[in-house]
Amino acid sequence: MLTANPSRRDFLKGTGALVVSFSAFSTGAELFAQGQFGTRESNVDPKKLDSWIAINADGTVTAHTGKCDFGQGMFTAQTQLVAEELCVLIERVKLLQCDTEITPDQGTTSGSQSSPVNFNTENLAQAAATAREALVAMAADKLGLPAEQLSVAGGIVTAKSGQHVSYEELIGDKKFNLQMSKEAKRRPHKDWVVLGKPVAALERPELMTGHFEFVQYVKAPGMVHGRVVRPPAMGAKLVHVDESSVRDVAGMVKVVVRKDFVGVVAETQYAAVQAAQKLKIEWMLGPAMPEQATFFDYLQKQQGRDGLVIDSGDVDAEIAKANKVVRAKYTYAYQMHGSVGSSCAVADVKADSATIWSGTQSVYPTRSIASTMLEIPQEKIHVIFKRGSGCYGLNGADAVTLDAAVLSQECGRPVRLQFTRRDEMMWENLGSAMVIEHRAGLRTDGTIAAWDREDWAADRGGRPGYDQPGNLITGMLLGYEPAPLNPGPAKKPTGVLNNQSNTVPAYMTGCINGVCGGGGRVASERVLMHTILSPFFTGPLRSPLRIQNTFANECFMDELALAANADPLDFRLKHLGDERVRGVLKAAAEAAGWKSHPYTPRALPKKGKVTGRGISCVAYEGHNGYTGLVVDIELDLETGVVHPKRFFCAADSGPISNPDGLKNQVEGGLLQGMSRALGEQATWDDKGITSVDWVTLNSLHLDYEMPVIVTVLLNPSDVPATGAGEGSITAAPAAIGNAIFNATGVRMRTVPFTPERVLAELHKQSKTA
């Protein structure tokens, strides 16, 4: 699988189970070391039922999960799952998430993997089903009746005769001492009473009243406050720190220096802020960054690691025979997580042990990296998840955690560290900048004969996993290297198509040696990737590479429809075989009242507003959730401002656990995708990232007049649950780009679609018209 698609993400989707690797850089030995979750051995054995579920003396249920909630709704949905499978009231379930002393190692909570991992037939779902069956068996034994004659509700097992026994009477406060059962049966979808219902997110009252304990509020006894002092430029090396420059700061505890890592610790947060500002440091600058203005050309000129995802071998010949050939080059800017709350962690590092409170998505991998950095055995490190500001992937949460641990170890006291806005944004692992080139041939009947696609993606570091501290800024400053890129030519594709980065458009057959893993009908196909060393750190940002690739694929599909003089929806359906992609596309189109007709150019007025409608779809990661989207936009010809007015979005993520939570994800994803499409891009100068606050990064504020959103949630019960949080964002930029074309005849091939770019393209068009 690795050779079939050298992915840059931190996991590989296996047969329904999560296999955490360290992106393509994994060696065989690392993969071999992985446990049931594709993770390492830990003190919490995932094969034991007691690692997941406990029935307390009062009959309440305590459940443990390694998938945590950052605001995406996992806490509530998983609580529903446990309540459903154990047949208890949801109020009777207490869910503990992501704690290395308590919860099984489920790797990282990311990448649309939580629902597939915990809501199908393994892991948390399997544990709850195993527990229910075990409890019924115990009741059968106690009541002297066959299990088939018993039913369960409200934590009480009842016989037809009326005899009954409660969970607490059966096992209250005692261990199950059972292995997880592969045969345990999930409760049938049609019988669900808690799962599948729009249960309001359980933390809402605390959240809305400002009583919720974010990681930013964790307090440890004797805690002091830290600040890091980052270099002025990427690649800068520390020459000298003048500790006397902060001697007069009242409440100063310590200046911490380790290799290129510099930080301060003080009794109060304000003293730490002052010390960080006053500390005099001499740095030696490294090489200048490549220029932003010509960066995409730079990217295409670099040698990288090449990967051939699919290659039918006949693309050049088929395109040469084609009736019409269409080519286009798309580019996508570096983008940022830009969490609204800057990242924070509290670490209490003692001589031979540590306790760390962190907003990380990866408590166990963080424990492993902290162990390496602190030189404390990982069994002696306790990492406890506490929700931080929404992360959307690898924001500063991991780096700040490791920074706090280093500061605490150096000063011997518990340290709370929160990044400044600049610390957060200048050094985060950006969403990759990409170039995507398409070339396709059309037959005389207007179908696609062949499609050739090549991309260049900027990549440096990423999730540190268990072994790569250098994938983050903290590790780099401490002298660790990022995971090596290993440049080299592509190998012939083998195995089954792994489309986890959505490089392969949904319209390709995705065949490798006769096994076709794609959902489309274009059989002459080639997809070649180049992973290029990025000057900046990169890492998973909600829909990593998938949003970039889908933007390019779905906009190019519109270009092909235009060349074939076909309606964009009809043209898509003609080339799609996958019923679920077809399903969401048709559902979105129906909700929007889509009228099929080929694009007809119209004369644009000189000023005023024009309207347009665009469509897109995605099979996320190939098979991990399906989204169809139609958007209506308004475009101001004088200002170049694009304003989406209505989204019609259909989502199919299998059996829905919580329709309200899913809707919240679909809506938020669409608007975040819209903000990213319209204006968000990381900027830089010769030293490093310059989009370091909310003036220099353009996120849509609350005053923006948001489009109306119509969501259509498909709810098939006979398929596994898939990811649900990244489909709508993935489809958004392409649909908006297609709507801009529909409104103006101008094709935007660079994200973001800033007003300046839109105006420039309009101007170009009016000149050639």
């Binding site: 009583h211 500001s389 606050d693």
Partner: protein, 158 residues
């Protein structure tokens, strides 16, 4: 360091801090409040918003010694999980958040706007929300919750 008296959420406090300390740090680190949050430290995002005598301010850029005898109200001073303020209840009803980190800016700004002008139009409410950032983009639900609160307020007065 200096002793400073503060009126926060209806209670008197005396704190011993550097008088230049941002109000935010006093509220969170000294008084242990969980409503106001450090977002940017630059008055650009709204996460640190508190109400000072009926007006919203950004507590990350306001020194504690500027407050004097003014009454400060924070998101956690408005209501409790058991007894939420009506605008908080509207947010609960509408599920108007994802991570929820930005809520001080969103809820308090909307409240102050509607308290000053109960008949504010959607456009006026929106304009008041400039400079507030929600990166989860729960915007649509938030505006719905604010509108719901506005409607309830109107009915309560009529």
């Amino acid at each position: 360091m200096a002793l400073i008296n503060l009126r926060v959420n209806g209670q008197e406090h005396r704190v011993d801090v550097d008088p230049e300390t941002p109000l935010l740090f006093v509220l969170t680190d000294v008084l242990g409040l969980r409503g106001p949050r450090f977002g940017c430290g630059l008055a650009q995002c709204g996460a640190c918003t508190v109400i000072r005598n009926g007006q919203t301010i950004r507590s990350c850029v306001t020194a504690v010694n500027e407050i004097g005898t003014d009454e400060i109200t924070t998101l956690d001073g408005l209501g409790t999980p058991e007894h939420p303020h009506p605008i908080q209840q509207a947010f609960i009803d509408e599920g108007a958040a994802q991570c929820g980190y930005c809520l001080s800016g969103v809820i308090l700004t909307a409240k102050v706007t509607l308290d000053a002008k109960p008949n504010a139009t959607d456009k006026e409410i929106r304009e008041a929300m400039d400079g507030i950032i929600c990166r989860c983009f729960a915007h649509t639900r938030m505006m719905r919750a604010i509108r719901k609160y506005a409607e309830e307020k109107k009915h309560a007065h009529s």
